[in-house]
């Protein structure tokens, strides 16, 4: 892949099709953990980290096992096995990361630990796995067609930047919500409804990037 492709993938997953604001993935943490800037940042970093790992692992799984003509099986198993395999692999991965951090990197565990179990069934992580493999957009699919290693690089790169796009949306949202907490909002709109409307306005701003890539 050349520099332009790297840039295109990054730009597209942060701005053009932002995970939260354009693709509607990962809305539960987006609404649930965005009251404070600090928590939003922690959640964003944890999701980015797990998304990167999940991208690598699920791409390997897809290219080596599930895809037609993979290493072991001669059949196309994508449709039949991708859902259970990805979910279980991601859940196991998150558990392993949590155990590793707890024993080896306690400082990092204190910062990210509480967010990790919440990520296990996060649709953003599962979504990035699907978008890197079976439902890949044009850019990533072309890279994957070129060679195995190119596909792996594109998938992990996309994983990182999708996570950063998620982090960006979380940070923007938490900034708005810290202000909203002080504001005098009509009672039925308090909490989630007004947050949704603000997210709609943010999505409108992001709509301006449509068609750039």
């Amino acid at each position: 892949m050349n520099i332009a492709t790297f840039f295109a993938i990054a730009f597209s997953s942060v701005f053009v099709s932002n995970f939260v604001l354009a693709r509607f993935l990962g809305l539960c943490p987006f609404m649930g953990v965005s009251q404070k800037l600090k928590n939003a940042l922690g959640m964003g970093i944890a999701v980015t980290f797990v998304m990167f790992l999940a991208s690598v692992v699920t791409y390997l799984l897809y290219a080596l096992i599930l895809k037609e003509g993979g290493l072991w099986v001669k059949y196309d198993l994508v449709l039949a096995l991708k859902t259970p395999m990805y979910v279980l692999v991601i859940a196991t991965l998150v558990q392993l990361v949590e155990m590793f951090l707890r024993s080896r990197l306690p400082a990092l565990y204190d910062a990210l630990g509480i967010y990790l179990p919440l990520i296990t069934t996060n649709c953003a992580v599962f979504g990035v796995a699907l978008l890197n493999t079976s439902d890949a957009p044009e850019l990533i699919r072309r890279a994957a067609e070129r060679s195995f290693s190119q596909g792996l690089i594109a998938a992990s790169w996309n994983g990182i930047w999708s996570g950063l796009g998620f982090t960006l949306a979380m940070l923007l949202m938490s900034g708005v919500r810290e202000r909203l907490a002080q504001a005098d909002v009509p009672r039925p709109l308090k909490g989630i409804p007004i947050a949704f409307i603000c997210a709609g306005l943010m999505a409108m701003a992001f709509l301006g990037f449509t068609g750039m890539i």
């Binding site: 069934t121 996060n122 649709c123 599962f126 439902d135 989630i192 409804p193 947050a195």
Partner: protein, 218 residues
Amino acid sequence: MAQRSLIKEFTKGILELNAVFVLALGLCPTLAVSTGLKNAAAMGLAVIVVLVCSNTIISLLRRFIPAEVRIPCCIVVIASFVTMIEIVFKAYMPPEINAALGIFIPLIVVNCIIMYRAESFAYKNGVVRSILDGLGVGAGFALSICVVGAVREALGAGTIWGYCWMPVSSSFEYVPASILIQAPGAFVVLGLMMAGFNWLKGRRGGASSRPGAAGPEG
């Protein structure tokens, strides 16, 4: 826990425990797939089927599943049914609906509603109750997503279920606000509808009604 009547077991999922408006669970598909009533109905159907099937199986197996591994077991059961639904939809649904649902069919597996009902209800209750619970909660979700879908389609495309709902006349023409079918419209419509739901609940109950706190996971 006092035994609820079987009818109550079904109806509680529609209003009292409404997945989208009260619990704020399953928001991702609600926003993403509600671009039109047809897509929303297909998504609602898929969720009802998966929810009823997984509730049935989990409730049948609840004596054999040790409590420590109940979550992975639930995941495997749900993932199997989601895969089945995905294959059936690929085979029998019109291609444009499949294209619109896209990755959101496999994503049902991480939909918090299904895991929540499997783990907190079906794992503790009998088969009949679990089926009714699945039907009720699924119907509540399907109704909500269909309402959101109908509003967005009616205002954003000027149609309902593909049919033009405005009388066509030369003097008046409805110009659809296409922003409502795009991403921002989804957030705004759902936000306003949640607010309306809270307002109605506040008026009916009288007591202060807090909007449902979002489940942190999923």
